[in-house]
């Protein structure tokens, strides 16, 4: 038995010879082996199979061949693989990151490639015991190379991604500062970025400003909200969205199929969705800016609109405001003082009781001074409506059927609304 066992152990020199033979065989056929590797990668990883760009395919083939060659040569020459040896992996990792290939897919490709190489080693080993021993002796160095190269690739991928994100963030911030100063960058990457966001000197745009509502949101919540706004796609191009200190600023471009009303509706949906997810925002939307030169004005408007949002959050969209309401919103203390004390007292007292008479004035104006239509809208009898109109006239000294008097009342109500968050919408 002992002599048989000794006889079964192949001669060390024979194993070394087999090992060299296997490596040389594979190196001689490395291009075909790489093609097998790429075929396996495409078969097992859908993201690779989905790539129909020829340059991408050629690049993957080249990388697989280079990895195989470097791996086999290093083992044959018995030297440790260095970062310098696999410098080609780093640039490829960046290209994969830029192309949008997921990191998991990229790393799995290394494992698949390694598996194909190992199968080839076993195949080339043949049936002899020396061949088997030689193949076994290659397992550890092959695996070590795979770990080394894939770790380096993952590191390079992540590093590039972080750099790209930081760079894009800086670019967006710089671009926004130009735009809010009323300028379109004249050349270079910022101009290219502006175009990518669908922004041009004469393009019609809106400005939306968002701040956290309710509890003070942390910086992570602002970034998450900013990403959500950017993902929403407020227009057909990507939307420029920047976290700017305590606020988020978005500049959606308007175009065919993306009018101001559609953008306002999308922003409202987004606000409701974020609030449901625990990130309530207060959002102000400007009127339309007719070109970059009007963006400073639009930004100031969007910020001013925030003042009409409830404390719990919501959207104040100036494109939906009438000029009348906007004037009320921007009215100063003098405008409030110009309201007749009698009318002010009437409104204060009526508000304390729930605003029954104020509702009647609004309904009367909305019905174009048609008392019956106003009564229908309020679901009250026309005689009741008539009675309320008489009470309003007695209390204010104004006649609702006289346009100037009705206008004075509506202005006073609008000024009152402007002081109450949520009322003027």
């Amino acid at each position: 038995m002992v002599s048989e066992a000794v006889a079964a152990v192949p001669d060390r020199r024979a194993v070394a010879a087999e090992r060299s033979r296997i490596l040389l065989t594979l190196l001689a056929d490395v291009d075909r082996l790489a093609e097998r590797g790429v075929a396996a990668i495409r078969a097992e990883i859908p993201a690779y199979a989905a790539q129909d760009d020829e340059r991408f395919g050629a690049d993957v083939l080249d990388q697989v061949a280079r990895n195989y060659r470097t791996d086999l040569t290093a083992i044959l020459e018995e030297h440790e693989v260095t970062l310098e040896d696999i410098a080609f992996v780093r640039s490829a990792a960046m290209r994969r990151a830029r192309s949008g290939l997921a990191l998991e897919d990229y790393i799995v490709a290394f494992r698949v490639g390694h598996s194909v190489l190992w199968d080839a080693v076993v195949e080339a080993a043949g049936e002899t015991s020396a061949g088997h021993e030689a193949a076994l002796s290659l397992a550890t160095p092959l695996m070590r190379y795979d770990n080394f190269a894939s770790s380096h690739a993952a590191h390079a991928y992540v590093e590039f991604q972080q750099y790209a994100i930081a760079d894009a963030d800086r670019e967006r911030r710089d671009l926004l500062e130009h735009l809010l100063a009323g300028e379109l960058p004249s050349e270079g990457p910022l101009l290219a970025a502006a175009r990518a966001f669908g922004l041009g000197a004469e393009r019609r745009m809106l400005v939306a400003v968002a701040v956290g509502a309710g509890q003070t949101p942390d910086a992570d919540a602002r970034v998450a909200a900013s990403a959500a706004i950017a993902r929403t796609g407020l227009d057909q191009a990507r939307t420029l969205v920047v976290v700017r200190q305590a606020e988020i600023v978005a500049v959606p471009a308007l175009g065919v199929g993306a009018g101001a009303e559609q953008v306002c509706a999308l922003v409202e949906d987004l606000q409701a969705r974020l609030a449901a997810q625990g990130t309530p925002l207060a959002l102000g939307i400007s009127t339309v800016a007719e070109g970059v030169g009007e963006l400073p004005r639009a930004y100031a408007e969007a910020r001013a609109a925030l003042e009409c949002v409830d404390e719990g959050g919501g959207v104040a969209a100036l494109p939906r405001f009438s000029s009348f309401h906007y004037l009320a919103l921007r009215a100063d203390a003098t405008a409030h003082r110009l309201t007749s004390p009698r009318v002010r007292a009437f409104l204060d007292e009526d508000r304390e009781r729930g605003g029954v008479l104020t509702a009647t004035i609004r309904a009367f104006a909305d019905a174009d001074l048609n008392l019956r239509a106003a009564a229908d809208a309020l679901q009250i009898h026309p005689n009741t409506a008539q009675y309320r109109v008489r009470r309003i006239e007695e209390r204010t000294g104004l006649c609702l059927r006289r346009v100037s008097d009705l206008f004075e009342l509506l202005v006073a109500i609008a000024l009152d609304d402007a002081r109450i968050p949520g009322a003027l919408r």
Partner: protein
């Protein structure tokens, strides 16, 4: 336990879900919770809490849910009146309600004023677009006032009306949920008048407890309004 605890619980788990719908008017659980907190704050400001009666004369409109849960939240007893614009009906009911405050629908204003004259009852009216103005400056009552299971929560105004406790409201709501297999995506059509405590428990509170939607009838909101 105060039955109104169900509202902030549902609002926390499904804030954007529709609580009450009447035609195009939609009230989310978040909005219902906030409005009820402000109405509770309004009651507290007026010294009304824990067992004090507050009369409600509201038809089947979303504001009913806002006011109702505001009253319960403050620990008060909701004493409900039918929303009839007739002072002859309202006067005796209001007297029987024993409430220092009446929250009424705006369309009843003249009938309510005629009923309440000389009674010492303070009246606040709910007109949909005016509600934010009414509640502006009122500090919301975020927490729900604690009540025992056998404390009275609601009763219909009038002689012989049976006071219903917080425990009764919860039990009836749970029974209704079980019978209807009501879940968070459910919609309960409400045709019975909400001033009836049975409808409050079996429809409104069942829906709020299950996170479902109460769909109100679009018919004219007042019977006898014409």
């Amino acid at each position: 336990m105060n039955a109104a605890e169900a509202l902030p619980a549902t609002a926390a788990s499904a804030p954007a879900r529709t609580a009450v719908r009447l035609g195009d008017e939609v009230l989310s659980y978040r909005a219902l919770d906030r409005a009820s907190a402000r109405i509770a704050g309004l009651l507290i400001e007026r010294g009304l809490q824990d067992g004090r009666h507050v009369a409600l004369a509201l038809p089947n409109v979303p504001a009913f849910a806002q006011a109702y849960y505001g009253v319960l939240r403050a620990g008060c007893v909701a004493v409900t009146l039918p929303a009839l614009p007739d002072a002859r009906v309202l006067r005796p009911l209001l007297r029987a309600a024993g409430a220092p405050l009446l929250i009424a629908w705006h369309a009843l204003a003249e009938a309510v004023d005629a009923s309440a004259t000389g009674s010492g009852v303070d009246c606040v009216f709910v007109a949909p677009r005016e509600l934010p103005r009414l509640l502006s400056g009122v500090a919301p009552l975020a927490a729900v006032r604690p009540r025992a299971d056998d404390d009275v929560a609601t009763m219909a105004a009038g002689k012989g009306a049976v006071p219903r406790s917080h425990g009764w409201l919860r039990e009836r709501a749970l029974a209704a949920i079980g019978e209807a297999g009501l879940g968070g995506d459910g919609v309960v059509a409400c045709e019975a008048p909400l001033w009836d405590p049975a409808a409050q428990a079996g429809v409104l509170h069942a829906a709020v407890s299950a996170g479902a939607t109460v769909a109100l009838d679009r018919r004219p909101v007042l019977s006898g309004a014409s």
